[in-house]
Point group: C3
């Protein structure tokens, strides 16, 4: 060729000015849960519930096999929405009404669609605004047994492509999306007591006391493994994996360096809380609201605590109870010479994550 080739640079993802009221994105790809993905994320997250560790236990409880924990379902489903919704985001602001439905097993294929509920341009920052969406993940799409595995809303701060474009805000109603956790019936014929040593002995409904905060004992340092983890989720956001791009314009990006995908501290906090509050849960019922309150970067160590807010009977299920909790994640940031009441000398405790979380928890008198 003697002619110079014509250069094409496609726009990737949508910008603030691209979203329309009620617009529906059927996201690309879809993702089949392999045993590779299952293990990488279930185990990475420090999840301890035997339902996601021990097939013998899961099957005795009435599941078809190892159960994908809510954190894994969330990571896979959420990541599919990134290209269309948040590839050009600055920060994820809020998770709202996140609910879980049909259990997800290895071999299931998840596909996700998202409806645009609202846009609100920033009054103070002309190049930014908030996008509000509702997403739903289904399995066995197109078949008679198609079912919802998860649905949620989120608000995310998205850049404009062209700062000079005037963007008009809007807000529409979310769709009603039936999505209740499927929990296997308590079976008189199952010897649950013979399995009780496999989960923690002190995290039954009877043990969780409103008005207490459990500071989970373990921490986990996140390395630059996060780049790889985020990549294998098909999360295409460049702020998690393109260090060159960040380096060219650090002030544009939260923290000025690669930021860990929020899904990582999300599932890690779920996992760290496991032995104390989730080992004997048969389902995460709803995450009413949640948010990342500070960025996480490679090298940070994540800790978590759970506040027990309230508990109550679970209608029709005398073997279970509902427990409302607040899951809190934090890290420590060096603060030389300072002494804070809740941190070692020279360190400041910084909250990174919070999630209002309702669990369906086994009663000891039925299971142990």
């Amino acid at each position: 060729m003697t002619d110079e080739p014509r250069i094409i640079r496609k726009k990737t993802g949508n910008f603030l000015e691209d979203f329309r009221p009620g617009q529906v994105f059927r996201h690309k790809g879809g993702k089949t849960i392999t045993e590779g993905l299952f293990t990488t994320f279930t185990d990475f997250s420090m999840a301890t519930n035997p339902l996601c560790k021990n097939a013998r236990y899961a099957e005795a409880y009435g599941y078809a096999g190892l159960v994908c924990p809510p954190g894994l379902v969330m990571l896979v489903a959420f990541s599919q929405t990134v290209e269309d919704i948040s590839e050009n985001a600055r920060a994820n602001l809020e998770y709202i009404d996140m609910r879980f439905g049909t259990p997800v097993y290895v071999g299931d294929t998840l596909e996700v669609e998202t409806k645009v509920l609202g846009v609100r341009p920033s009054s103070s920052r002309p190049n930014l605004g908030i996008v509000h969406v509702q997403s739903t993940a289904r399995k066995e799409v197109g078949s008679e047994s198609e079912s919802v595995v998860m649905t949620w809303q989120r608000k995310v701060q998205v850049y404009k492509d062209d700062e000079s474009v005037e963007v008009e805000g809007f807000q529409v109603d979310p769709d009603p999306v039936p999505c209740e956790p499927w929990i296997p019936a308590h079976s008189a014929g199952t010897d649950y007591k013979a399995l009780a040593h496999l989960s923690s002995p002190d995290s039954y409904f009877e043990d969780l006391e409103p008005g207490t905060v459990i500071e989970h004992s373990r921490g986990r340092t996140v390395t630059d493994e996060h780049i790889h983890l985020t990549g294998i989720l098909d999360n295409t956001s460049q702020v998690h994996c393109n260090r060159f791009m960040i380096g060219l314009n650090p002030s544009r990006y939260v923290g000025g360096e690669l930021i860990v995908f929020g899904g990582i501290p999300f599932v890690l906090c779920l996992g760290l809380s496991g032995p104390d509050v989730a080992d004997n849960a048969l389902g995460d019922v709803v995450y009413t609201t949640g948010r990342h309150t500070a960025p996480l970067q490679a090298g940070d160590t994540v800790f978590a605590a759970t506040e027990i807010l309230a508990k109550r009977d679970c209608p029709g299920r005398p073997d279970l109870g509902h427990v409302d909790t607040r899951l809190l994640g934090h890290k420590f940031v060096a603060d030389e010479g300072a002494q804070h009441p809740d941190a070692p000398a020279g360190w400041k405790k910084v909250r990174i994550f919070e999630l209002e979380r309702t669990l369906a928890v086994k009663r000891r008198d039925h299971y142990a």
Copy 2:
């Protein structure tokens, strides 16, 4: 024992003086593709074609399940040849006539053999020379359904064990190895349009225009994850994983530190090009030639572009067309104070990879 034990240090791999004309290596090991390997590499590579992401989609198209993308087949097959051919290599020089055959699925076991086609001692560097080989990977070896999944030639620069040995060059002909991609027939009974939202909307045969270069929008920073990735491929080359060895004699090794296995940027460039040119491909037909033009090291961010060279009908398949492309990989290297036309100030764009690549691409009028 009062006697001192006798020390044995085995020679590993072959050196320039060991290769014989027409010699055939049946490589050790073989490798069964597990779901762990599938996910790690398919997803690491940022591959986006739903054939390797979404089992529902792959099965609707007529495949037996998730399809191993060409990059994964290449990594697994190539790595099996390393011990015999390139454990003592300085650099891989060229890939030639790399072709793909029967689809590879999770559970398949790949076994590889290699024929020595040529040796050419270096005229300027007495301790080095070029080895030219032809390798073929098969599955279901020894059974009636044994078939070729991939065949390729490569040239690689290999060290002598004993610099004083005189090595005579030779060249023999490659074997004819039938290897055509198996592509499922277009089926009138399949509702392809109902699946079209799962792949990118603008990468059909009709969209790919000769004379254009598509600069793929994403980049990916490679971390020292490469050591782990290369290891789990059974690639035994020490230049990718033995930092102590490199440190003792850095000048012997390209770049003077651990070098990223070429297969990593190879599949990453394939993956980065995915949304723009490969999402609607049903097969990578041939890589006529390819090479690594600069080393990659941990910390580098990989970018890619695809030049569309030509396109034409695909005989007997009105639903497909063949597209000849050139896949280019690059990174940016700091060049303080300089201003290059195709790089940000202070940076120089360095090409790391190029691959002549022919794809069999769906026509929109048949599929969307």
Copy 3:
């Protein structure tokens, strides 16, 4: 809530003063071996025996499929004991009489229990003592085909929770635990020779000569991947993953920074020895004793050697022989200006691991 919530900090794991003679822990969780876990650890370890690489080979030999190598079984089983036994340990001191039984395949669920055999308080360090335990891992627990896959003893140095507590030592007998490796019969109908190219040609029983030391040719640099690897094993010990905790009190921890979980160099040494001594083994019969002799940290490169101690017939199996070996792991530590006889100038060779290991090895005259 107007009341301040009550803070709960649970004790995790046991301390020196908590262990009782003959006490039995049935450990939490259990773990199903997925293809993800299989690949990550089998391949990470550089294992080369085709039984764990090539399903065609494993099945021809009479196994049900890819065989979990002993290192993987050990990692999964051992990690389950950490929370109860060594979450509050300073260092693992010794492995004793580690034996392998029924083969483990992908899909098997391992569950582990541990009996406390002894406690010995330190005479010199009032906050420490040695705990001696016997652990046994089983699969298909609770079914008719329940069987032992591995049993072992270990001694571990554990902290006291309260240094002022007086701890009385004790020692009880281990239980007899039948556990012999299951090795498929040599079958006259199998064409083993047709598979012989898949394993190394010079590691048959006939090749292994008592009185020799084989210095394995490869090394492997361990990165901070170890944090992730240890996590996905459900190993809860904080000294492998909580950098913040170590940083607050480095002198309390061996090496003063995150220490690599001993299982990592353990399996890596097994893997590095593979091509020379284990490619033609059909079983690891017993590890009589083993220990970590220096800590490993991210950035270190691991090397290994095997001393051939003795060999003898294998009763009832003319196709096999038993080989007693000593597996040695080492790394090099900078020692500026020094010249040691077995290390490059400026480096000192430091032994990190040793394991008395008996293998059941194929005889060439029956298999190749």
